[in-house]
């Protein structure tokens, strides 16, 4: 028997409820508890458990829970520090840690959360699995830092290429999904080849998801998508849509886009409409959709290559399909 996604999330919630940070120093640990209860969807630890259950029966799931929790702690550490760097006042509608407390707290509580991630990792599975888990975790964590640095750099650069942008989203968000699957496989004692295929499955599917995210920000139904309509356009973000336009459009269209991105957002609806119009007449949604499709297909080829019976792959396959299959 394998667990469904809701069942896995329940197991994670149960496990999380049994863990607690020390009480003191309060100022250090309260923000850790706070950010963990802001209602993250916990898809990364769930993905790790799916990776595990590809290879092992679900009654041994407890062996993978510490590593799953390590991934969730790492993700929240990165959110805490990213929010400082982005000067973000809110996360999921609540004050960010450095806003509710201060920057010192945001830095130090983030640091200790990262160290606790390693603490959970070191208690994952059996001691002989720790070195391999640590290796994967470090590789992914370094990637996430490099991706964040690239994202920061891009803000002040006007010559970002599409391959650079794709590499940035891959590092900043997708490698953690791949790493979670790989670590789940490692906890289960899977063969190295299978663990690698799962890493690439998560990495490529995660990149496809981020490409889709760019598209949905401009073309998605805000009610379903849950973000402000055309938010990227109003913030003049150099998304994949913008980069692709600058690559394929006429000189006149490029000039118009550059000009639009230098104007303020006093008339948001008009600005969104003008930029969308530019995207549409250059077939940008079709280009981006094709790029997403390419990543997605390559991703699922890696899942296909994992040497376990097809029925074991049902949960992780339909989870990733649901993640990638939203309509726009």
């Amino acid at each position: 028997m394998m667990h469904t996604l809701p069942e896995l999330l329940e197991r994670i919630a149960e496990y999380a409820g049994e863990q607690s940070f020390p009480v003191n120093p309060r100022q250090l640990y309260e923000p850790c508890d706070y950010i963990l209860t802001l209602g993250g969807k916990r898809l990364r630890p769930a993905t790790l458990l799916m990776g595990y259950e590809l290879f092992r029966d679900s009654d041994t799931l407890a062996e993978a829970l510490p590593a799953a929790w390590a991934v969730e702690l790492f993700h929240n550490f990165s959110l805490m520090h990213d929010d400082i760097m982005d000067a973000a006042p809110l996360r999921r509608g609540q004050p960010t840690v450095h806003t509710r407390w201060n920057t010192t707290t945001g830095i130090l509580s983030g640091d200790v959360m990262l160290i606790y991630a390693y603490q959970f990792l070191s208690h994952a599975a059996t001691p002989d699995m720790v070195p391999a888990l640590l290796e994967t975790f470090n590789r992914v964590a370094i990637g996430v830092c490099e991706g964040q640095q690239m994202d920061v750099d891009f803000e002040t650069r006007d010559n970002v290429t599409i391959p650079e942008y794709l590499r940035m989203i891959e590092l900043k968000t997708a490698v953690l999904l791949g790493g979670a699957l790989e670590m789940g496989a490692l906890c289960a004692g899977a063969h190295q080849d299978d663990a690698q295929h799962l890493y690439h499955f998560g990495r490529l599917a995660g990149t496809a998801f981020q490409i889709q995210d760019d598209l949905l920000d401009t073309y998605g139904d805000p009610a379903k998508f849950g973000k402000q309509e055309g938010g990227d356009i109003l913030q003049n973000k150099k998304t994949l849509l913008v980069l692709k336009t600058l690559e394929v459009a006429s000189e006149a269209d490029c000039a118009e886009l550059n000009q639009l991105m230098e104007t303020g957002s006093e008339h948001p609806d008009a600005k969104i409409a003008a930029v969308r119009n530019l995207f549409d007449r250059n077939n940008i949604p079709t280009h981006i959709e094709a790029a997403k499709q390419q990543y997605q297909e390559e991703a699922f080829r890696h899942l296909d290559a994992v040497q376990v019976p097809e029925e074991r792959k049902t949960v992780v396959r339909s989870f990733m399909e649901a993640l990638l299959g939203r309509e726009y």
Copy 2:
């Protein structure tokens, strides 16, 4: 044969020279190289190697170098983040990372250095030693964060007790020295009891060193000590000398000290003289010296308890004696 301290430092310098961070993203890794070349004394990694050479012959020293370098990277990560929290413009006479670059860089480069510390740790010694090393490293790293938080908290508290202060300096700086010795012992495959005795030796000696540091700031020869004379007094820092005075002095003396600590430093020499006078007439140096002595004696009892021939202890013993034996 065992290595002397200068020989150990040379081995560390040689090893460090062989390591390098990736070139890109430049903004992420340049600050890591920068802080490592500011001329730290590298006493922590040297201490780890001394812990190793208590148990193993020096021709196997290479096995302990990755762990030693992990400790140095961790220390520099903590300096980078502490400098942001303390808004420190200079470190060893050079601009701090967040001053030379910016806060975002200070946070992110610090984060990636911490992760690289774990990367080196995971390549330390043989794979079966990794879980124990990780356990010690995490315990110490969490302690350092807690100590830093206590230090931050103390700035805005006026009821800090002496035990709390001692616990703060122990966590913030001494446990890393203890952890380095313990990790050196673990790399050498030493018995758990010996590793624990070394941890406590470093922890207690490190605390004695910090107590001495408070004393030297007010009573040391600035030429030898290398800091501004009476710096703590001019910054109104609640050092151990202040806390002890408030504990043992008359109400009138306490009131005078509190008043002095609320005044500015327009007349630095007069202020230093007045505070010193208060300390002297309450025998504070004697009290503090006794506290230091107590930690020191307990520390060396732990070194005595380590089950190796006395001659193997020569290097680490004389190193720690030199650290603690400066005149004042």
